[in-house]
Amino acid sequence: MSDPQPIGPTPASQFVRLAETQREPVPFTLDGRACHGLAGDTILTAVLAHGLVLRHADFSGEARAGFCLMGACQDCWILTAGGQRLRACTTFIAPGMNLRTRRPGDA
């Protein structure tokens, strides 16, 4: 594991942080890229502060980035490198999480 590189929000991030930015950084990996969220971020927040996608739709393969943020729509399940699925809007980011927006080998 390499040291996490703090990466700020890029123009290709969906969420914009407006408040509560003075929190401890939490390093994680997203599709092989070193990222950091903040303590108390959900996975959804941490990922969308760095990118635009959480998962790909089961049939069309279209990008999805969550919808209801309250555990109802089930459209934010993200994969871990270990093959686990986590509901991104109700699971907090934890140090060292290795997250993937698609299965290895999928286009």
């Binding site: 303590a39 943020l69 729509c73």
Partner: protein, 467 residues
């Protein structure tokens, strides 16, 4: 001393908390099961414990009420068996099936108060599945719970009081709100004014949000129709129409919703009788003025049984708890009876106000007629409006569960929470029926996905014991 099966409350929002407080006040020790990590429900959702913003910043004018509800729960916490982070994924006579930290268990109840809350009612438009498009409630969660805006240039769309509240909260927090687009018209709101005067202070707040947004240069547009989101795998613009034609508005996020819909799956699994509610345009569990369902021992309170808002949820939660107590041999004393009557009066006032809101922010009745064939209605199974219409025409399906069986609408992970309202509208429209005639999707356990390895036979599960 014999082991007593406790009363159980599902949901730790305003209804559940006031119910718990009332039960504790009469010496009962309820179990309270909630899916969230902290109490408050959606409306008074608390951010993670170490966040810094004040309640005033989080809840605005409702900070007093939010604080009172939070404190009510703190005050009874030592007398409630409180189970946060716990999903009720099935409900049957006498017991609930729970999931906590990846493990299932069962929980026996003597009587049950279901306060399961609500989510946004969704009427989709083309591109609503793209990254950047969220429910209004989701947009509010991002801000309240995480301190984030859903994008750097946000359009709020749909109808209902939440539309203006959330736009105001976003703008106040420093977000760039590109526009608020309402399918209702000013004429709707004027027509509703007499009924809305049933609760003048709530009406005044709504008018304040409108005036504030206007004074701060936020574009407010009524009488609109959402057409589509532009952008390849992200949101780049929203195309909408009004009487003057089509308009394109650059944005990278859209929050939308058409008022709220009740979460009724648990009441359904419990066998509660439903009836079609014209105001909600949905099937809702029956209840008496005190919150008793058609099933003895099952009580229903808050937005989960009909959208009445947070204040009414508090009253309904307390009223349901008083009903539970009196049915349980704790006959109400004179102050208890007075209190119950006062709560019922307040709830009746809230119902009048609710009727006014429906006039101010009416359901867009032409939505199904105007939905294009290529519109994805079911985002889990990716079923389009055209798929629904072709299925109706080729099979003759006239009922929603039949339609689901034929084309999988509502069969995905969300169990129809996001698509059932829209699918019912399209089915009713293209089969020449009223929404009341097409039925409702039957609730199915598990109501939300649970790990497959945890679906062990019920007999092998450890049974929760209560003290």
């Amino acid at each position: 001393m014999s082991v007593q099966v406790p009363p159980v409350i599902v949901g730790a929002g305003p209804a559940g908390i006031r119910a718990a407080q009332a039960l504790v006040g009469r010496g009962l020790r309820p179990v309270m099961v909630d899916e969230a990590p902290r109490w408050g429900g959606q409306i008074y959702r608390q951010p993670p414990a170490h966040f810094q913003r004040s309640k005033k910043a989080l809840y605005g004018w409702e900070s007093g009420r939010a604080d009172a509800v939070h404190e009510a729960m703190s005050g009874v916490l030592d007398r409630v068996d409180y189970r946060p982070d716990t999903l009720v994924w099935n409900a049957e006579a006498g017991h609930l099936d729970l999931l906590h930290q990846g493990r299932t268990s069962t929980l026996a109840y003597s009587q049950l108060i279901v306060a399961s809350g609500a989510t946004d009612r969704i009427l989709p438009f083309i591109g609503w599945t793209k990254p950047g498009v969220y429910t209004l409630g989701g947009a509010q969660v991002a801000l309240k719970y995480q301190g984030c805006a859903i994008g750097s240039k946000v359009v709020f769309l749909g109808t209902g009081p939440l539309l203006y509240l959330i736009a105001y909260q976003y703008a106040l927090a420093g977000a760039n709100v590109a526009a608020v687009l309402d399918t209702a018209t000013l004429a709707d709101q004027v027509a509703a004014a007499p009924a809305l005067l049933a609760r003048p202070s709530v009406l005044a707040k709504g008018l304040y949000y409108l005036a504030w947004l206007r004074a701060h240069g936020v574009r407010l547009q009524g009488g609109v129709r959402a057409l589509r989101v532009l952008g390849d795998a992200r949101t780049e613009a929203l195309v909408w129409a009004d009487a003057r034609g089509e308009h394109t508005l650059a944005c990278d996020a859209v929050g939308f919703g058409y008022a709220l819909r009740s979460e009724t799956q648990l009441a359904d699994l419990l066998g509660c009788r439903f009836r079609f509610d014209d105001l909600a345009r949905a099937w809702l569990p029956e209840r008496d003025v005190a919150g008793r369902s058609s099933v003895p021992g099952i009580y229903l309170a808050g937005d989960g049984v009909g959208i009445m808002g947070a204040d009414a949820a508090e009253w309904a939660g307390e009223r349901a708890a008083l009903a539970l107590l009196s049915d349980n041999g704790h006959a109400l004393d004179a102050p208890g009876r007075t209190r119950a009557a006062a709560l019922e009066r307040r709830l009746a006032g809230a119902a009048r106000f609710r009727g006014g809101l429906e006039r101010a922010f009416p359901f867009p009745l032409r939505w199904a007629d105007q939905a294009p064939d290529e519109l994805v209605v079911c985002r889990c199974e990716e079923v389009t409006a055209g798929d629904l219409r072709r299925t109706v025409s080729s099979t003759g399906a006239t009922e929603l569960n039949r339609l689901k069986a034929f084309c999988r609408v509502g069969m995905g992970r969300c169990q129809g929470r996001m698509c059932a309202a829209a699918a019912a509208e399209i089915l009713a429209h293209c089969s020449g029926q009223q929404p009341a005639q097409v039925g409702r999707l039957r609730g199915q356990a598990p109501v939300k996905p649970i790990p497959f390895m945890d679906c062990a036979p019920a007999d092998s599960l450890p049974r929760e014991e209560s003290a």
